[in-house]
Subunit: 148 residues, 2 copies
DNA sequence: GGCATTTAGTTAGCATTGCTAACTGTTAGC
DNA sequence: GCTAACAGTTAGCAATGCTAACTAAATGCC
């Protein structure tokens, strides 16, 4: 199982990257929570703001969770007035879920906080390192386009 | 609060990086779980194998969680025979927690699976992209040394 | 020596988030 | 119109995070 297949990237860098990503997100979760809402909420709200109203299945798929999980999340956010939902005209089964003004505002604030924290994180970075980050982002984006 | 301080890195790249990191880890969690244990277990076991036996507080700090959370995690892993603990000689309050042979083996297997998945992820990466990854890892490591 | 304080870890109880299985209600197909 | 498929919800479980309150051991001060 640990057959040494041909591998482009050296394992140590990848493993360290993995571990660092975990630590980074752990730190950011704290920032999110200080902003008044937590990871999944922030992420789902982001999708709703950026991609516009969605039905529950789409939203669940976008977030990589199953419908019941998203259903509960939406219900909670609705109770907090962050999203609104209405049944679709053409199909009464479907619900269109959209961010409310309050939700949008909260999302923007959370986003600003996260970016601020991340900005501080990369504050001491050199130009080379920033360029490297952009390269990695491109590569990751491409790689994650297909399922892991 | 969203005062536009001087900022070295462009926000879009950082934000995309954040989002990609979330997606990557979500995918890897599935891999971990297929290997028979989940994120926090894998991570804690990793620390124990790599850094050697630790007391509970050290381990909790290394994982960025509070002692009660780590206490429960250790208890569960102990029940599965993945770690062993004994009280320190010089201080009966402290417990030294170490990976068992079984824990080490499981950790290595999980690690291999994760690396395999990550390796596939970066399979199509160019040499430049790999170099960029290493640069980013160094920068992140440095940045995360101090609290977010 | 003996008692108060600090420190290490645990226990209890809560919230969030993930899942699967089973249910309700709506649409589509025959 | 009846059945099959589909959208979403409800119920119930497990894992992981937390805080508050507890136990037990070490330290410090008289």
């Amino acid at each position: 199982m640990s057959t040494p297949r041909k591998r482009a990237a050296p394992a140590p860098a990848i493993e360290r990257f993995h571990h660092l990503a975990i630590r980074m997100l752990r730190g950011l979760r704290a920032v999110d929570e200080a902003a008044g809402f937590s990871g999944p909420r922030a992420s789902a709200l982001s999708v709703l703001v950026i991609r516009g109203p969605q039905c529950l299945r789409e939203l669940a798929a976008a977030e990589g969770v199953k419908p019941p999980t998203m259903s509960r999340l939406v219900k909670a956010m609705q109770a907090e007035g962050l999203v609104r939902s209405q049944s679709a005209r053409h199909d009464q089964r479907e619900i269109r879920i959209g961010a409310s003004a309050k939700g949008r505002a909260l999302m923007m604030r959370g986003r600003a906080r996260r970016l601020d924290a991340l900005g501080k994180l990369f504050h001491g970075a050199s130009a080379d390192e920033i360029a490297a980050l952009e390269t990695v982002v491109e590569a990751l984006d491409r790689a994650l386009a297909r399922p892991l």
